[in-house]
């Protein structure tokens, strides 16, 4: 069992969302802790709306594509760039088996094809992982989600969010995209049932403003699957 708990005060965000689909949900890290606060007042709503709009517009100006699941996309630091280039080269020389990365010129977002391992519930099925790297990767974890349709698995939500500790609290720079992929495949392979997490509907409903799974406070209490 997994659960994603603790969500952003959704009123303000879904309202913003209504006005403007490209809301950046992660512009201020402290935004993730909150929520016993009362409803936002009208002025604060307006100012955050304006802030969000101007942020989004400036992102357009830079021609950076954002999506509903991308967090605030600052350019990669020099160290992050170097590290990712090395990971890319390593991947090309020695790709983890069962994965296929279609290399593009976008170093900051990798889309990786996952092929279910033979002899498992997911044999011959193909899924897509989207990996977004933060400015200070590898000090900070990448954001990893399944693109639609996400595999049916007790730790994978229908919106693609994955309940796996190494993607959040237990991330360390000793890990790589490749080692993440291997962990995810192993998670798929050890599954004995094809089903969604018990709290799927509630969690997904609360994520629909496009928040990143990195803003969820995850509870990890199952090491069997």
């Amino acid at each position: 069992m997994c659960s994603g708990v603790g969500l952003i005060s959704r009123i303000s965000l879904s309202t913003l969302f209504f006005f403007h689909p490209f809301v950046i949900t992660n512009c201020e890290p402290n935004l993730t802790l909150h929520f016993h606060s009362p409803n936002p007042t009208l002025p604060s709503l307006f100012s955050s709306l304006l802030f969000s709009l101007s942020l989004s517009l400036s992102l357009y100006a830079q021609k950076i594509m954002t999506s509903s699941s991308a967090s605030s996309r600052k350019n990669l630091s020099k160290i992050a760039c170097n590290r990712l280039q090395k990971e890319l080269v390593e991947w090309q020389v020695n790709p983890p088996s069962g994965f296929n990365h279609k290399v593009t010129d976008n170093l900051q977002r990798w889309v990786i094809e996952v092929i279910g391992a033979p002899g498992t519930l997911y044999a011959n099925e193909t899924y897509q992982l989207q990996v977004d790297f933060p400015e200070n990767y590898p000090m900070e974890a990448p954001q990893v989600i399944f693109l639609n349709p996400a595999p049916l698995h007790p730790h994978i939500y229908s919106n693609g969010h994955i309940c796996l500790d190494i993607l959040y609290d237990s991330w360390s720079p000793a890990m790589t995209v490749s080692s993440i992929c291997i962990s995810i495949l192993s998670m798929l392979s050890s599954s004995t049932v094809k089903q969604r997490p018990e709290d799927n509907d509630r969690y997904v409903k609360n994520c629909r403003n496009g928040r990143s799974p990195k803003e969820t406070r995850w509870w990890f209490h199952d090491d069997k699957v």
């Binding site: 959704r10 209504f18 689909p21 993730t32 929520f35 160290i79 590898p138 237990s170 000793a174 406070r217």
Partner: protein
């Protein structure tokens, strides 16, 4: 394009949701898992508050500032601080972000090199660093995962050697230790070194680790050594001291008192053992620790002897 479609769909849902759910629904959700959430929230806000108040590394303060913290507090602690004042002149605080042991060690070590210009020590530690590098390689860590962190530490080490174009002053060392893009990388370097040292001598560390966390040595390293923000205890300190061959003194300031009535302050010296001869404390000449850390439950700061 897909994203756009998704967004539009979600937008519609968002609208209907606005209509469908009264406020109380949201409150209900927010109260889900209330107790644990409160604890997590509290912990997060402590971390956030701490970050604003304390830089990664504070200024050197007279030891009297420590006593001032406990003015209305425990008499035992105040007595102990008096004892400390006999031997120690100053304290330098570190941020309580779970990295305080490593950050305190980092600054204390580099400051010692900057002030002593001990070239023999620099040559010695560079050899230990290379041993740690080989240890990581033999444990199967790809070079690309740790080489940037190693390079940054070696660069810091070169910078504190004076008389070169790249030399930095004490003031600059303080600034760099407060700069996240340097400081966190050096902390991570020490985490790699510590993890390798523990795994290299896993049979030695195993009983201690079982006592702490009931996991395998490898799992302990993955979950309690390598991630940033994971706190350190004697296992980490022993491993780092051994791997780099640097003795560390830890002075314990807590409420414990001895039966005889007199107040004394305990300390423990972590003396490195030669990696090839576990437990052979006499194999290397005994050196007095030049790094002294003050431990208060859950936190390490730097102490300066008189």
């Amino acid at each position: 394009m897909d994203n756009n479609n998704n967004n539009n769909k979600k937008e519609e849902e968002a609208v209907s949701e606005e209509v469908a759910f009264p406020m109380s629904e949201f409150d209900g959700w927010n109260n889900f898992g209330d107790d644990d959430d409160d604890i997590i929230n509290q912990k997060s806000s402590i971390h956030a508050d701490e970050a604003k108040k304390v830089p990664f590394l504070g200024d050197k303060e007279p030891l009297s500032s420590l006593a001032a913290e406990y003015q209305s507090g425990s008499p035992i602690l105040l007595e102990k601080i008096k004892v400390l004042e006999v031997q120690y002149a100053a304290i330098r605080r570190t941020r309580g972000d779970g990295n305080c042991f490593f950050r305190g060690f980092m600054f204390s070590y580099l400051e010692h090199i900057l002030e002593s210009q001990d070239h023999a020590e620099i040559d010695r530690i560079k050899k230990s660093v290379e041993k740690s590098r080989s240890a990581l390689q033999s444990l199967g860590y790809p070079d690309l995962t740790f080489e940037d962190f190693f390079a940054l530490f070696l660069e810091e080490l070169d910078c504190v050697i004076q008389g070169k174009e790249t030399s930095i002053s004490h003031e600059e060392l303080v600034l760099r230790s407060r700069d996240q893009s340097v400081s966190d990388y050096v902390v991570m370097f020490f985490r790699f070194v510590t993890s390798a040292a523990i795994q290299k001598r896993s049979e030695f560390f195993e009983p201690f680790i079982l006592g702490l966390s009931n996991t395998t040595v490898e799992q302990f390293c993955k979950s309690s050594v390598e991630p940033m923000g994971e706190e350190s205890d004697h296992v980490h300190i022993t491993a780092l001291s051994d791997a780099l061959g640097v003795p560390i003194r830890v002075v314990y300031l807590d409420r414990s008192s001895c039966d005889t009535g007199g107040v004394s302050v305990n300390h423990h010296d972590f003396m490195p053992v030669d990696g090839d001869l576990p437990n052979a404390t006499d194999s290397s000449e005994k050196k007095n620790p030049f790094i002294t850390l003050l431990y208060r439950p859950g936190h390490y700061d730097i102490l300066y002897p008189k």
